[in-house]
């Protein structure tokens, strides 16, 4: 009966130990900046299209729903603020993290898992090269750097999406849309979003590299590891989101 609980705690411990090991190799791995750049490209640039597309749709939905809600109180001119705050503080970091887990996280896990399955990681160890430094650390750092950038792009596109619907379609005044946003959104909101996306970046990248590195070295094992990456990243993101939101509202 206690078994699943114990397993979960053991797993958390393993992940934490792995994080310590990866962190220890992050600085040395910077000696090969090209590896890091390649991974930022991998995690970031390749997720760009999907992040932009989803940002647009989320922004458009915000425009519709926000307008419908705000006009009941006669304050539809606040649509710009509502959309911007919703995106910057909440939807931007969270949805980007979920997309990241699905697009970049899975590809990290399957890539590292495949290296495990084809003995590439073992071969590196036998050649006296630490695979955590060479393979894991650049991917981990690349994910952490890519996440806030992707979030920022998601937010910008999202705000324009809300404007497209709010101003273009349902007729909020363009001046009030932008001026209220400018007056109400300040650096604390931006900071909250930035810190959230950094935390999600650490969580999602860590889960992706952990699952890949510890995948069962078979085709089936790599598939299972990929699934676990998405599930754990999503759960962890939403859990962290609640904790961070609570912390920011308190302060």
């Amino acid at each position: 009966m206690m078994r699943p609980l114990v397993d979960a705690i053991v797993r958390m411990g393993r992940i934490a130990l792995f994080l310590v090991r990866v962190l220890g190799q992050c600085l040395p791995s910077l000696r090969h900046p090209r590896l890091l750049l390649a991974q930022i490209y991998n995690a970031g640039a390749r997720s760009l299209i999907i992040v932009m597309l989803c940002g647009l749709f989320v922004g458009m939905v915000l425009g519709l729903q926000g307008y419908d809600l705000l006009q009941r109180f006669g304050s539809e001119s606040a649509l710009g603020v509502a959309a911007a705050l919703g995106l910057v503080r909440e939807l931007g970091p969270v949805i980007t993290a979920l997309l990241f887990a699905g697009r970049a996280g899975t590809s990290l896990t399957s890539e590292i898992g495949l290296m495990r399955a084809t003995d590439q990681l073992t071969a590196m160890e036998m050649m006296a090269v630490d695979p955590v430094r060479r393979v894991v650390a650049p991917r981990f750092l690349g994910g952490i750097i890519a996440m806030p950038l992707l979030t920022a792009i998601f937010n910008i596109i999202g705000i324009y999406g809300a404007q497209l619907i709010g101003v273009g379609l349902v007729g909020v005044e363009s001046g009030s849309f932008w001026s209220q946003m400018q007056a109400q959104v300040d650096h604390r909101d931006i900071n909250e979003g930035l810190i959230k996306s950094l935390c999600f970046g650490v969580a999602c990248s860590l889960m992706a590299v952990y699952e890949g590195f510890h995948a069962e070295p078979t085709a089936e094992g790599v598939g299972l590891a990929t699934t676990r990456t998405v599930v754990s990243s999503a759960v962890l993101t939403l859990l962290l989101d609640y904790m961070l939101t609570a912390a920011f509202l308190n302060s």
């Binding site: 290296m115 160890e125 036998m126 050649m127 090269v129």
Partner: protein
């Protein structure tokens, strides 16, 4: 051939015991690989041949007994010393284990780039020389995915020798190769051993192939060396286990049938 008492043992395994999840893999294994010789480690599937290699390389620790490589006890080494030891050893993996995101050239250059600060022109020359030795200089710019199985293994061999190791370990080098590639690999192992004096350990179950080049052979069975000697001596050996393996007989001490309930009664019971 045979064991000369004066030759120095590069690898020495004494009274090795190792178990996974309570299942004994090695139970008092003794084995020596002498400098400059080709030592074959043979055995049926599942006798722990690959486990032995992992033990030799210090990837896992023995339950009991000693493994020394170049006179150092592997299990006692901390990670930096272990990595130092591994730089003197080349290893050829069964499937090549080439880095899929690097070209053939970069794969062979990988250990050099990781461990040395050679100027680029010198490094390029070294890599080209090693590729020439395995006959694949013309494939330098290809990706590992474009190579056939035999070619991938030759690239992996070039990578294994690029640091000029003193000891070369081959894990099942003949598995899944066509006769031509097999002949090429066989000749390469022999040439490397003869011309560079590299001590070689070949783990395999291809009796015929390895018997042509091995100086000393060990046959693993039941967690220990069931027989040791030159290939010719092993072929003459009278014990049933050795005989079955060397001649490839389907039934013997290693049974053809997996343990099962009585055949007749199980067939009859199907109707009920």
């Amino acid at each position: 051939m045979g064991v000369s008492p004066t030759a120095e043992a590069v690898v020495e395994v004494s009274d090795l015991r190792y178990a996974i999840d309570g299942r004994s893999i090695f139970d008092g294994l003794n084995l020596r690989a002498l400098r400059g010789q080709v030592t074959a480690v043979m055995g049926p599937s599942g006798t722990g041949k690959t486990t032995l290699l992992r033990l030799l390389m210090g990837a896992i620790e023995p339950g009991d007994g000693r493994i020394t490589v170049f006179g150092e006890e592997v299990a006692r080494l901390a990670r930096p010393a272990l990595y130092g030891l591994r730089r003197r050893i080349g290893m050829l993996f069964q499937n090549g284990a080439l880095m899929s995101d690097l070209s053939v050239f970069e794969n062979v250059a990988f250990p050099l780039r990781a461990h040395t600060r050679l100027p680029e022109p010198l490094l390029r020359r070294l890599v080209l020389m090693k590729l020439q030795a395995v006959g694949l200089r013309g494939a330098a710019d290809m990706a590992p995915a474009e190579l056939s199985g035999g070619m991938a293994r030759r690239v992996a061999l070039a990578r294994a020798i690029v640091m000029d190791p003193e000891l070369l370990i081959y894990d099942e080098p003949f598995v899944g190769l066509d006769p031509i590639s097999l002949g090429v690999i066989l000749r390469l192992i022999q040439t490397l051993n003869a011309t560079l004096g590299i001590t070689s350990i070949v783990v395999t179950h291809d009796v015929e192939e390895i018997s042509r080049i091995a100086h000393q052979s060990y046959l693993l069975a039941g967690g220990r060396a069931a027989a040791a000697g030159s290939p010719a001596e092993l072929l003459r050996a009278a014990t049933p286990a050795v005989n079955q393996f060397m001649r490839g007989l389907p039934d013997g001490p290693v049974p053809f049938h997996v343990p099962a309930p009585d055949y007749r009664s199980q067939l009859l019971a199907v109707d009920r």
